[in-house]
């Protein structure tokens, strides 16, 4: 049964792409692109710090857009189809992740083209991935009990970003490039990323209610 479900996965990708509400993501991706492209187009001289700041702002845009991509107004009506919930979400992820990666690659290319010095692209990408996964994870958790995950996930991302920029320096997440704490901060980002992935994986399971009394009776 499970193997059959997995074989269904490629067939679900195209319908999932059609059913995904792209408007929010495209709007957010557009704003993110504008944030890095405007200074590049006007050839504003920016230092590594400022360019990393722009990349971080673009990453927040991306996460805001991704927060809405799991929303599905029809989710309740397809709860009974044979393809289980994790497979349906895997199909969604198969659409979302390539789109997000392609968008981020464009962002990095636009920013990197205007930069004089080498940018710490790896570190910023870890930050962006962590934010994106937090957005998806919060959205997925919210979707267990509701139809709209984005309206909780998007503010949650903003709160996380502001909180991350205000925590005491010894636990800082947003550190300037070249800082001694860069590596340690990115270890923390990686932990956040892993935790978000774990929560997301947990959240896509079918939200069934256990009824111990009945199960015990049937045994």
């Amino acid at each position: 049964m499970r193997r059959m479900s997995v074989r269904v996965l490629p067939l679900l990708v195209l319908p999932a792409a059609r059913a995904t509400p792209w408007t929010a993501f495209l709007a957010a991706a557009g704003v993110g692109l504008a944030i890095v492209a405007v200074p590049a187009a006007f050839r504003v001289e920016l230092g590594v710090d400022d360019l990393v700041g722009l990349l971080r702002a673009a990453a927040v845009c991306g996460a805001l857009g991704l927060a809405f991509l799991l929303d599905d107004p029809a989710a309740r009506t397809i709860a009974t189809v044979p393809a289980p919930r994790p497979i349906r979400y895997a199909a969604r992820a198969g659409v979302i992740i390539p789109a997000a990666v392609a968008w981020w690659a464009v962002i990095l290319a636009v920013t990197g083209a205007g930069a004089g010095a080498a940018l710490p692209l790896g570190g910023v990408t870890v930050e962006a991935a962590a934010l994106a996964c937090v957005a998806l994870a919060v959205g997925a958790v919210r979707l267990r009990s509701s139809d709209a995950g984005g309206i909780v996930a998007a503010p949650a991302v903003l709160v996380l970003v502001v909180a991350a920029s205000r925590i005491p320096p010894d636990l800082a997440l947003y550190v300037p490039p070249g800082d001694d704490r860069w590596a340690a901060a990115h270890d923390r980002w990686a932990v956040l990323l892993a935790a978000a992935v774990a929560v997301a994986v947990w959240a896509v399971r079918e939200p069934t209610r256990r009824r111990p009394a009945i199960t015990a009776g049937r045994r």
Binding site: A24, A27, G47, F68, A148, R166
Partner: protein
């Protein structure tokens, strides 16, 4: 029959009830819901919690400059308080759309424009709450014994004004676009724009067209020198609020002459006040700046404690006692006859930013700037307009120590090597616990040598790592014991030619060997 049923009823019957009262009732309900929205609660926590944490852990600066404190939290208020309200007001105004109940509202007393008016009014009580929060914060800061200057009510009022503006923008967005993503994106774009407009590479005054004008002044200045057009900016933001509110009503379907008149008035206020912000700095402020730079004594009051005279700008007079504590601490370590010599500590400000990225200052320019600085009053020790951060204490202690040890005016950021370097660093570090903490903090983040004095002033010096190592070893010993040793060899230790090794012998501390030639500091001074 069927045709009659399908026909849309034209001209709905006059609505019973007073829409004004119904609007106020809805506004009351929404005003109670708004501060309970998680985004608003998170915003309040993010605004207040870090500051409360700093006070509880003793990291807060107990010497706030009120004319800087009044506007320095504006960007944060925009981000967290304005952001929270923007999202909450947007979601509230979109609630009917999100729950697909728009049709049901057609049966109620309120038409969409009145409903929109209620959502706009619902932001007001939260703005009052923010105003109270800001007022309490600045009042608590002003009550501190170390508070300097006075806050500008217009700068304080910008905080609640930004909250109102973002709340109104949230309602307007809900009437224009029925997606919830737009509000967070607007917030992000606003934050990036405000931050980018503060970059020194951008033309100066564009930032005043944004809700919050973020600046990075080199240092706080006395109130008389301040050039932020705060009153006009508040009027500009007020005009924007009215304009956004009128736009929201119009987008909801409100029409009529009164709306057009109010919208035109709001536009006129916003445009007029927006343009007025760009008027050149007034002559009074420009004259005050010249006076403060060239004849600071005219704007200052002086106070003598023992042989030391402290001259401070009026706003900063409350700090002289704390300066004296540091100066006494330095003089405790020197022989009594040297400590009794007259000394002048004068507060200075520099309104031009000497720390602009990429600006290269040659050694000759540095010396010329220092000579120009000292010309005002040769021999006076410079103290700035910051205090309470450890580094300012350490800078004053260092400059006083240099003056006492060398008898010369402060140099142009050159290294002070040999016995003088060891002695000056020790005197500065042992003065008070704050100077010791400041010295440790600067030592931890500097390379090659420890700088004393604010880099935004043309005067200052640095002590190379080798001399600093000897001074650190001395600082670990009882200060009285070291002071006695210093007093015995004062003449030799303060002579310009005495080496660090000789100072080590005299004071009984190990001095690290000289580093390889390419890593040595050039000691011209």
């Amino acid at each position: 029959m069927t045709a009659a049923l399908a026909e849309r009823p034209t001209a709905p019957a006059p609505l019973p009830g007073d829409p004004r009262r119904a609007m106020l009732a809805l506004a009351r309900v929404e005003a109670v819901r708004l501060p309970r929205h998680p985004a608003v609660i998170a915003g309040l926590l993010l605004f207040a919690a870090p500051e409360i944490y700093r006070w509880l852990t003793g990291q807060a600066n107990r010497f706030p400059v009120l004319q800087d404190e009044d506007w320095s939290t504006q960007f944060l208020a925009l981000l967290v308080l304005g952001g929270g309200v923007l999202i909450a007001a947007n979601l509230a105004a979109l609630r009917a759309d999100r729950h697909a109940t728009t049709g049901l509202y057609d049966t109620l007393v309120l038409t969409p424009p009145w409903r929109t008016g209620a959502f706009l009014l619902a932001v007001l009580p939260f703005a009052v709450l923010v105003a109270a929060l800001i007022a309490v914060r600045i009042a608590l800061l002003a009550l501190l014994p170390g508070a300097a200057g006075r806050p500008d009510p217009a700068e304080l009022a910008v905080h609640p004004a930004v909250v109102l503006l973002f709340g109104a923008a949230g309602v307007l967005l809900a009437r224009l676009v029925r997606t919830v993503i737009v509000a967070p994106l607007l917030l992000l774009a606003a934050a990036v724009a405000v931050y980018a407009a503060a970059l020194p590479s951008l033309p100066g005054r564009v930032r005043w067209l944004l809700p919050v004008a973020l600046e990075q002044p080199p240092m706080p200045v006395p109130v008389a020198l301040a050039s932020r057009p705060s009153g006009w900016h508040l009027a500009y933001v007020a005009g924007l609020i009215a304009l956004v509110a009128m736009a929201a009503l119009a987008a909801a379907g409100a029409r009529g002459r009164r709306l057009v008149v109010a919208g035109a008035a709001a536009l006129a206020v916003a445009a007029g006040a927006g343009a007025a912000q760009f008027r050149p700095v007034s002559d009074a402020v420009r004259d005050a700046r010249v006076t403060a730079a060239e004849r600071p004594a005219e704007m200052q009051g002086c106070r003598s404690i023992g042989a030391v005279t402290y001259c401070a700008f009026g706003d900063f007079r409350s700090w002289t006692g704390d300066w004296d504590t540091v100066v006494r601490g330095v003089l405790r370590g020197v022989p009594a006859e040297v400590a009794g010599r007259p000394l002048v500590v004068r507060q200075r400000v520099s309104t031009e930013d000497r720390m602009v990225d990429g600006q290269v200052v040659t050694a000759e320019e540095q010396v010329a700037a220092a000579a120009e600085w000292q010309r005002i009053e040769p021999g006076a020790v410079t103290v700035g307009t910051r205090w309470g951060d450890g580094r300012s204490e350490m800078a004053l202690a260092g400059l006083v120590a240099y003056r006492v040890v060398s008898g010369e005016a402060a140099p142009a950021h050159i290294p002070v090597c040999g016995a003088r370097g060891v002695l000056v660093a020790w005197l500065a570090g042992q003065a008070t616990p704050e100077t010791a903490a400041g010295l440790r903090a600067v030592d931890a983040t500097s390379w090659g040598g420890v700088p004393f004095g604010d880099m935004r002033f043309p005067v200052g010096f640095s002590v190379p790592d080798r001399e600093m190592a000897a001074a650190s070893a001395l600082l670990r010993r009882p200060p009285g014991e070291v002071a006695a040793t210093v007093a015995r060899s004062w003449a030799e230790l303060t002579a310009a030619g005495t080496s660090a090794d000789r100072a080590g012998d005299l004071l009984g501390v190990a001095v690290p060997p000289l580093p390889p030639v390419e890593e040595r500091t050039r000691c011209d001074g």
